[in-house]
Subunit: 216 residues, 2 copies
Amino acid sequence: MDLAAKQSRQSERRQEREAQILKAAEKVFAEAGFGGATMQLIADMANLPKANLHYYFPTKEALYRQVVQNIFQFWLRAADVFDSAASPAEGIGAYIDAKMEISRRHAAGSKVWASEVMHGAPVIQDTLESELAEWTEDRIKVIRQWIDQGMMNDINPRHLLYMLWATTQHYADFSHQIETLNGGKPLDNAAWEAAKTSIKQIILTGIGALPSPPET
Amino acid sequence: MDLAAKQSRQSERRQEREAQILKAAEKVFAEAGFGGATMQLIADMANLPKANLHYYFPTKEALYRQVVQNIFQFWLRAADVFDSAASPAEGIGAYIDAKMEISRRHAAGSKVWASEVMHGAPVIQDTLESELAEWTEDRIKVIRQWIDQGMMNDINPRHLLYMLWATTQHYADFSHQIETLNGGKPLDNAAWEAAKTSIKQIILTGIGALPSPPET
DNA sequence: GTCTATACACTGATAGAC
DNA sequence: GTCTATCAGTGTATAGAC
């Protein structure tokens, strides 16, 4: 076996380990917060000796930084549906569906992001100022176009975006409260569908993006 | 001076100190999380020696517990406007205004609450199961009545409540992100009014609680 | 590359002088 | 009642054996 192949195989093993650690770290950071999480807890969850973590990630903060960055990139990729839509009902509806699916499948990541922002974004402030700000301005332009074309009411695009973020991420960040109010059980398929339907009904009706509001 | 008066004066001083410590603790817990907060940081912010904290609150957890309980009682009291309303537009509109005012004036408290829930509500689980569950069921009944009386569309009351909580608390819990997207400055009076107006416009229109949707 | 043992800093909490 | 000095425990990070 030549050197390149050997390096490649080692690189693969390394990436597997890194992914394994990142997955465990995401869960522990979500459950305990940055300060409450310990390298010992993460190591136990990843089935590795504590010291090995420092071999793959030099410091606790570097590991945390990687977790948060991964989540943010995930958010961004999932928002592509917004642009390719022909109408606000289609674009915003698909965006709500996509974000709700993320809240269901990646609740831990959403919680880490929320915690990071709540504590003043100590490690992703630059990302907020550059990438998120840019993304937001672009989406505001799309919404403005829809308004100008008479496809929806004249609402404030920025606050509409905040409402979309808040409402969808609430089902991840406050999942424990929602479960408690659901009799201690996670929402089942029907309940998740009801949530998506309710959100879309209220918001799409609220911004005048539906042909005729339901007169049920 | 008799004994009762002396005890009363001492009790007053003690309550002042406790309030002083609780205020500092709320801020530190909000900024750093439970694990990231230290008794030293709280003592510094309250201008007291570290050991004195243990004189008023036996443990760090007891102090934290008191902070969270105070916040929850605050939430509950501020929600009275919901019941005394004659219509959904009036009741829900006033509830949105009240919750947005809390998000503006008590952002730190809202963050501590959010963090507590995100981490699985280790200290207020019983409160969630009893007081919050009861409050929620009562409000759902009020909304159901409004629907039955034809004053609003047939939407899912529970998910409407979650949307109201998510949207209003977002302005407190994600205030740092919102500030960053606002050019690094806090929202001014006009921006807060715009937020309240946008939320009420979308939700009240969305649930069919307004006489005629704005055709702007 | 991997893991054991350990260094060093810091935390929550307390004992005891005032 | 208040504060200084200190303890015991724990956390991150690393040195060094294998």
